[in-house]
C-alpha cells in the first residue's frame, strides 16, 4: 500500500515539474500580493513591521488556494480520478497523497518565499524563525483543509466560487494562532502556546481531513 501511496505523490510531483508555470504561479502571486502592501500602505518601516505577520499569513493563505481547484478537478475531468480510485488504495489515502503533493508543490515553496518577504517587510530575525515555524504548521493545515474542501465540492457547479467560501472560514483558527504567535514575540510574551495550538489543530486535521476528502472523492466518481 505504501509504494502506491508514494507512487501517487511522485506522479503529482512529476506533473508539477512538467507544468512549471502552474506550480510557480502560486508563489509568484504570493510575492506580488505581499509586495503590493508596502506600495499601498506607504514605506513606513514601523507600520510594515507591525503589519508583516498579517500580510504574510493572509497572502500565503490566498496563494495556497489557487491550485486547489485543479487538485482533483483536473483528475475528474480527464477520467484519471476513476483510475486513481481503482488503484487499490483507500480513497482517503489517495486524498492524503494528493494533499501531500499539494503541500510539496505549493506549501513548501510558499514557506521558502515567506522568508525573503519577512525580511523585506522588516521583521526581526527571531520573529522570522517563529513565522517560519508557524507557517510550516499552517501550510500543512491549509493543504489538509484545502484538499478536503476541494474533494467535497468536486463535481459541484460553481465549485471555484464555493471553494474559498468553504476553506477560508475553516482556516481562520490557523490564521489567528499563527499571527498571534508573532504578535506575542514582538510584545515579549510567550509564543510557544500559540504554536502548540496550531500543532493541536494540525493533529486534529491530519486524520479527519483525508477521511472527509475520501468520502468526497467516492461521491464524485459515482
Amino acid at each position: 500500500m505504501m509504494p502506491l501511496f508514494f507512487a501517487v505523490i511522485i506522479r503529482d510531483l512529476r506533473l508539477a515539474r512538467r507544468h512549471g508555470a502552474d506550480t510557480l504561479g502560486a508563489v509568484l502571486f504570493f510575492i506580488l500580493a505581499a509586495t503590493l502592501f508596502p506600495l499601498a500602505l506607504g514605506p513606513s518601516p514601523e507600520l510594515l513591521r507591525h503589519m508583516a505577520p498579517g500580510i504574510i499569513w493572509v497572502c500565503a493563505l490566498l496563494a495556497a488556494l489557487l491550485p486547489l481547484g485543479r487538485l482533483f478537478g483536473a483528475e475528474l475531468e480527464d477520467g484519471s480520478l476513476d483510475q486513481l480510485m481503482l488503484l487499490g488504495l483507500p480513497a482517503s489515502l489517495v486524498a492524503l497523497a494528493k494533499m501531500t503533493a499539494h503541500w510539496l508543490t505549493t506549501g513548501l515553496p510558499l514557506l521558502i518565499a515567506a522568508i525573503p518577504m519577512a525580511v523585506m517587510l522588516g521583521l526581526p530575525q527571531v520573529s522570522i524563525l517563529v513565522l517560519t515555524g508557524g507557517l510550516f504548521l499552517g501550510s500543512v493545515i491549509l493543504s489538509l483543509i484545502g484538499g478536503m474542501a476541494a474533494a467535497v465540492v468536486l463535481g459541484a457547479r460553481r465549485s471555484d466560487v464555493l471553494l474559498p467560501l468553504l476553506i477560508l472560514p475553516l482556516t481562520c483558527p490557523a490564521l489567528i494562532f499563527g499571527a498571534a504567535a508573532l504578535d506575542a514575540i514582538s510584545n515579549g510574551l510567550p509564543w510557544i502556546p500559540d504554536l502548540e495550538l496550531l500543532g493541536a489543530f494540525l493533529g486534529a486535521a491530519l486524520p479527519l481531513c483525508p477521511l472527509a476528502a475520501g468520502a468526497g472523492l467516492r461521491a464524485a466518481v459515482e
Binding site: D78, G79, S80, Q83, G88
Partner: protein, 228 residues
C-alpha cells in the same frame, strides 16, 4: 468451472437523480467467460460497468465476488478489476511510460511488454499530448494489461482503433480468457472475441418523459415548453 460464479450481480438497480437507469439487472460470470453488453444509448451500459468496477454503489441489489458482497471491502475489489472508461485518463504533459508507471507499481508488470502488445514501443517516450486519439486508446488498453486484474471492464474498447490494433486487441482478449480472466465489454460494433453470454439492456422506460440531467435543462424546458 466452479459452481459459484466469480462475479455475480443480483437485481442491481441504479438511480440517476429521479431516473431509474438500471432496473433489476442480474448477471453472473465464471472464470474465462466473456460478456457483451449491448443496448441503445442511455440504456445504462457505462453505468453498469461502473457499478461492477465498484466505482458506484448500486442503489438496490447486491454485487458478489466469489459469493462475498463486494461492498464489504471495496478497496480489495478495485484490485480485481481493470476498467477502461470513455476517457483515456492520460496526462498530456507526461510521456506514455510515465502515464502508465503508477499502474505497474504493485503488480510489477512490465510496461514495455504491455506497450509492445499494442504496438506502442516507439511512442513510449512521447508526451501523451502528441498522441492521436487511437494511440491514446491503445495506451489506455495497455493500462488494462498492466493492472493484471482478473476482471476486465471495457467500455467501447475499439473506439478509434484501426483494424490492425483491433486484431491485436482480439489476441489480448483471448490470452486473458485463456488464463482464466473474465471480460465484460460494451460495444456497438462487433468485438474481436467470441462472447459466452450477452446482456441486452432495455432503453430506460421513462427516458422520453424526464429531462436528462442538469437543472439547466429544467429551466430550458419551462421556457420553451408550456409557458403559462
Amino acid at each position: 468451472m466452479s459452481v459459484i460464479p466469480l462475479l455475480e450481480g443480483d437485481s442491481l438497480c441504479v438511480f440517476r437523480g429521479e431516473r431509474l437507469v438500471l432496473s433489476k439487472i442480474s448477471l453472473s460470470l465464471h472464470a474465462g467467460e466473456a460478456m457483451l453488453l449491448t443496448g441503445p444509448n442511455g440504456a445504462g451500459k457505462s453505468t453498469l460497468l461502473r457499478v461492477l468496477a465498484g466505482l458506484r454503489h448500486p442503489d438496490a441489489g447486491t454485487l458478489l465476488w466469489q459469493g462475498q458482497p463486494v461492498k464489504d471491502d471495496i478497496t480489495a475489489h478495485t484490485q480485481r478489476v481493470a476498467y477502461l472508461g470513455h476517457q483515456e485518463a492520460l496526462k498530456p504533459g507526461l510521456t506514455v511510460t510515465e502515464n502508465l508507471k503508477i499502474y505497474a507499481t504493485t503488480t510489477g508488470s512490465n510496461i514495455a511488454e504491455a506497450l509492445k502488445t499494442f504496438n506502442l514501443l516507439e511512442l513510449a517516450d512521447l508526451p501523451a499530448r502528441q498522441l492521436s486519439a487511437g494511440q491514446k486508446r491503445r495506451t489506455a488498453l495497455a493500462r488494462v494489461l498492466l493492472r493484471q486484474a482478473p476482471l476486465w471492464l471495457l467500455d467501447e474498447p475499439t473506439l478509434g482503433l484501426d483494424n490492425a490494433t483491433i486484431s491485436l486487441l482480439g489476441e489480448a482478449l483471448t490470452r486473458h480468457r485463456q488464463k482464466g480472466g473474465m471480460i465484460i465489454a460494451t460495444s456497438h460494433v462487433p468485438l474481436p472475441m467470441d462472447t459466452t453470454s450477452h446482456l441486452d439492456l432495455p432503453a430506460a422506460p421513462d427516458r422520453a418523459v424526464m429531462p436528462d440531467t442538469s437543472p439547466d435543462d429544467w429551466t430550458w424546458h419551462e421556457h420553451s415548453g408550456t409557458a403559462p
